[in-house]
Symmetry: C2
Subunit: 214 residues, 2 copies
């Protein structure tokens, strides 16, 4: 029991939450380079942000540094990892095991960061039962029980654009509240569900504008 | 000769340019569904933006619709594709052909959108000369002549984090002005060079914040 209100998702603007993983990464880099204390100025140079912005962002989560002394890197990193829920593992499932889905399964970055793809689904009968690494492709009909049994909290969507919204709706219906979408659409999700789009084509198309007159 | 100043990159805020590919995608979807005219209101629903924002964004590039009549989908799509330089093909090179780089080469989305990976480079002697699809992996020493000979305008970086900034600096030095970075770092580039980061881990880490108290 305490009079201090606990920090909850509602109090922090989403734009700040979106920046926190970049803080975590920058602090991890600094720690590996042996830096133990960092000023908001140094951190700002790393992240291309102003020191004032950094102090404001961090102030949502507590008082991490003493005025004029900088932030203790290790402590701040631990705290932010806790704020983001990165101290635990998160189970995810992949839906869509075509070329793109297979590339995602083979992406080396997920597991070391605590994101485990524990199940893979496809609608094509020819794919069901096929093994990819340690996963055996399951039919979509097994989505609901598998999500429940394996405590799957994140859905990774790699189906063709034409089926992506339908799959996302199914995942939402089965209680998945966080999704990583690789299909080239701008999907709709209800309030309380988060979705992030990984879309290299949009990224490329936003640069050719600057190339075309060169 | 004309008195009307030509539309140039400098006049348009980057945040507007970043949205244009989403307009292009939405208009393409509408066209495939047989829609020939779209209001800023409908387009706004599609893109989760206000009609006023859409009218303002598009006003940078000309007068596309008649007041109260909506935008002709086909015409607007063609114009925006031209604005973004999407009517031509763009050659790119991949640097870093580990697991991630191989996944990128196999990513099915680039070529149909006009982005061709025409060369692949790696620093590991064991990889040089190995074929992946139609590409033969080249040594980094061949980066400069290949960029020149193949008119490579985009660099795709998939080396380990520890080497990414160095590779990006090399590409900048050889005149590459647009980069897609898959390494988990926040790279620095000089003015006049654009870089976009594709980073599913950052995306996942920005969602677990909302999952952790559920």
């Amino acid at each position: 029991m305490t009079d201090i209100p606990s920090e909850t998702a509602e109090h922090v603007p989403e734009v700040v939450v979106l920046r926190l993983p970049q803080y975590v990464r920058a602090l991890g880099d600094l720690l590996r380079r042996g830096v133990t204390v960092v000023s908001s100025h140094q951190l700002g140079e790393h992240l291309q942000m102003t020191p004032a912005q950094i102090r404001k962002d961090l102030s949502y989560f507590g008082r991490f540094g003493k005025q004029g002394r900088g932030y203790p890197v290790n402590y701040l990193l631990d705290e932010l990892r806790q704020v983001l829920g990165l101290e635990r593992k998160w189970n995810s499932c992949l839906v869509g095991v075509g070329r793109l889905g297979r590339a995602i399964i083979n992406y080396p970055g997920f597991t070391p960061e605590g994101f485990n793809i524990v199940a893979a689904f496809d609608s094509s009968p020819a794919e069901i039962g096929v093994s990819i690494g340690s996963l055996v492709i399951q039919p979509i009909a097994e989505l609901e029980p598998t999500i429940r049994e394996r405590d799957i909290r994140i859905g990774i969507v790699a189906v063709p654009a034409s089926h992506a919204q339908e799959v996302i709706d199914q995942l939402v219906g089965f209680g998945v509240k966080a999704m990583l979408n690789y299909a080239p659409i701008g999907p709709q999700v209800p309030d309380g569900v988060r979705i992030r789009n990984v879309d290299p084509i949009l990224a490329l198309q936003s640069m050719t504008y600057y190339l075309k007159d060169n």
